[in-house]
Symmetry: D2
Subunit: 262 residues, 4 copies
């Protein structure tokens, strides 16, 4: 039976996602801020603990992606290639090293959900929008001083977050919170009633390839809204660190198990 | 850390799905037909094999569901409760017993995708529509002789299947293909490049509770269409067995492992 | 050139909507309440004025429809037949008679938008959900004492309204606000810069045929939320009059001009 | 009462669209081809007739837009700003002059539908996708030699058209079919049963402002698919003229009436 992911069949052609490597081109709008470190600790199961420096730092990142597999055929049928996402990253410590960790994430395509199950991103469906730069400014900002970008996130027909970023100056990178290898749990609950997890592991992964355009820094405003099925608003915005915009190209090609947990 | 599914947090409130039991009320439109048994065998990984009797029988089932957890709060925020699906079921043999097996399935909500990952249903996102009965016939059929229902399935902006069912008479049940306990694989690929599966098991599950209204049988027409990312159309409709309509209430509350595979 | 609505072609087959009559089967969940009559007057252009009795009465109505034209072919391709809507109705006076008037409405299909342009309903796109009754109560209420239904409305990725209705007893009808013939404006702005309306008329229409099941009355809770592009929340809920649930079948087949305005 | 479009209120804030001028920044992917001129004539009501030269020329254009009004506030809430569309343009003659005419168009937002009603574009809802260029080529083409772009159109859960364009060289413009002022009908059927149109006029409009980047020409493949509610596939692709890609900025600010028809 062939197929990287389900459904597995004699040909493998129906698999929801093909084997890595996976390729991405897109734009990232990042807002970094500080919240109560206790709220970050609420999201770090053992064996993870708070990062030693600036433990309450959070990054809320919007990404507008085009993606494909090695065959690139998705690019010619772009309903299978384009997707948007918003995700929340914190940092944590594991065996003396600092990792990044995605604690919440929303996407708008099923292939992106499936990649997340493989990579340990806790993906839900949402509706994400971010202003696009364009060479002609009739209805678009440029990536440069004064360029203003909005970004919104909704799920379950409720708006969860909205940001406005006005670019000011070039800078060295688009933030420090999402700059480490990721430490993610991959978990499958047991099939029996009340059973413990059938499988659980802590894995690490990062980009197998990366190119980035100039990063821009600016002034950011971020508002989070309550929802009965989300906990994002508990990560209150106590102090904005900064906002960033950057165009990137990324390759992802697997990770490694840090620790088997179940 | 709490939460049946991801994301797991200190409170568990953001979990994409709560713990079973899960409750369902809905309408099922089923078309059963025969295809080449070799095409069914293409979908049965070891240790499963073809069912001994009528091995090429297939059921394509549309379902219009309302669902909830024990707390029932989803019912008051029905964007979290209602979903539609279409799924393809075949039968198979395992250790001398006959099981049903869902080989393809499309749903339209993320909580339904997540339940599928737990239960071993290979869920993708799709767009499903089925005619609804209603007490007033201005724009609706009734569940009774001559009642005509349409059903369609699309994914990736392509129509994959369409059926028309005209009810003729009451019958004993809504088909025999989806009438056994399910035998499903639950698989998580290894995180390393080219790694074997990190976890794989064959599980069985069925309804923990079931109520069904009168089943109706009728004449069905079913057309399947090609898509570069689907293999549904390979299960060619060689002979229609019958079409069925039934309203049901179901409880699902876990299953059991038949065999650990990896 | 043929076609009731655009696009008009030699065959008329591509017309977004066919000629009336139009047929509807569906469920209505209504919450009636009182707001400041001055806010209702804000929505009544000349020659309309406030209704003499209970001028601040408002109905917010959710409807879950299946609809078709005389040929009924939409019922077999239900993506063309089913739609949901939420709409706000007030009453007004015109030449000594009382009319109902839809002041805001959201739907989720283009054919419903087009019908609204013809009928003078100011339709926008939205996301509406309402709990469905079902014969099996695993995840559904019944239409009867204690049956509890939720309903929500969102547009632009913001939740605009949410209601909960618990049925208590049968009653004579599902409210009085939406019980008169409709008085609607049909307006097309002039194509020139700053031009006055190219066309404007006040029309009246109502059902050409109606069947209704038993109406149920109950206790309703209604919350309205702000949005920068909506004015619904200005119609503050000062006092809930009642909540209603009813299944209906309707035929619509044109109206008449009350007054040509431009 | 204020508001350019419905609903009109005391403040005008809820109007589905604000007054022109409207501003657009976006990317256009165009495929021009020849069909049987008789099929074009089927789409030209009196007083329009076939263009004298190359009367069977057709342009199928995909556009990925960001748009706003003079206040530009939509750009910070991009769910109100971004939309996609695909539209079919032919040429026609009126009183000795050649005009372009949009005969079919699909968009994915309600504000775009409303603008179309004002401008005489026969807009339906659809699902459109077109490959995006990006500075980093991991999963994106560049606008340059060899850059390959796909584009698809679906409506009613059926795929209607798909194109693949491979750029070869710069050229003077992105086609000749959509290069004239538009000649559109604006029509409102009468509200009475079987009544003639209450309003009909032939209008002309074009861009009030335009900027365009370099145009690129290339090899295009275009396939059209049947649908029971569309007539696009009757405009058979007899001969591809060429494919084009261009980034543009546009301002629209009203038009003028050519002839009042009803």
């Amino acid at each position: 039976m062939k197929g990287f992911f389900y459904p597995r069949t004699a040909t493998g052609e129906a698999s929801l996602i093909p084997s890595p490597p996976w390729y991405y081109s897109g734009d990232l709008l990042t807002v970094e801020y500080r919240t109560d470190p206790a709220r970050v600790a609420d999201l770090l199961p053992a064996p993870l603990s708070l990062a030693p420096d600036d433990p309450g730092a959070v990054a809320l990142i919007w990404a507008d992606w085009q993606s494909c597999s090695s065959g690139r055929e998705e690019l010619l049928d772009p309903v299978r290639s384009q997707y948007k996402e918003a995700f929340v990253v914190v940092r944590c410590a594991y065996r003396g090293e600092v990792f990044s960790r995605c604690v919440y994430i929303w996407v708008d395509k099923d292939f992106a959900v499936a990649r997340g199950i493989h990579q340990g991103y806790p993906k839900k469906l949402g509706s994400m929008w971010q202003t696009r730069p364009h060479p002609f400014g009739q209805a678009a900002p440029q990536i440069g001083p004064g360029g203003t970008f909005g970004a919104t996130l909704a799920a379950g027909d409720r708006r969860l977050a909205e940001a406005v970023l006005t670019l000011r100056e070039p800078c060295d990178g688009n933030g420090f919170v999402n700059a480490h290898p990721m430490a993610h749990h991959r978990v499958l609950p047991g099939i029996g009633r009340g059973a413990p997890d059938a499988f659980a592991e802590l894995i690490s992964s990062g980009a197998a390839g990366f190119e980035g355009g100039p990063a821009w820094r600016g002034d950011a405003d971020l508002r989070l809204h309550e929802s009965p099925t989300e906990e994002l608003a508990r990560l209150t915005v106590d102090e904005v660190i900064g906002g960033y915009y950057r165009q990137v190209g990324v390759v992802w090609n697997g990770g490694s198990t840090l620790e088997r947990l179940a």
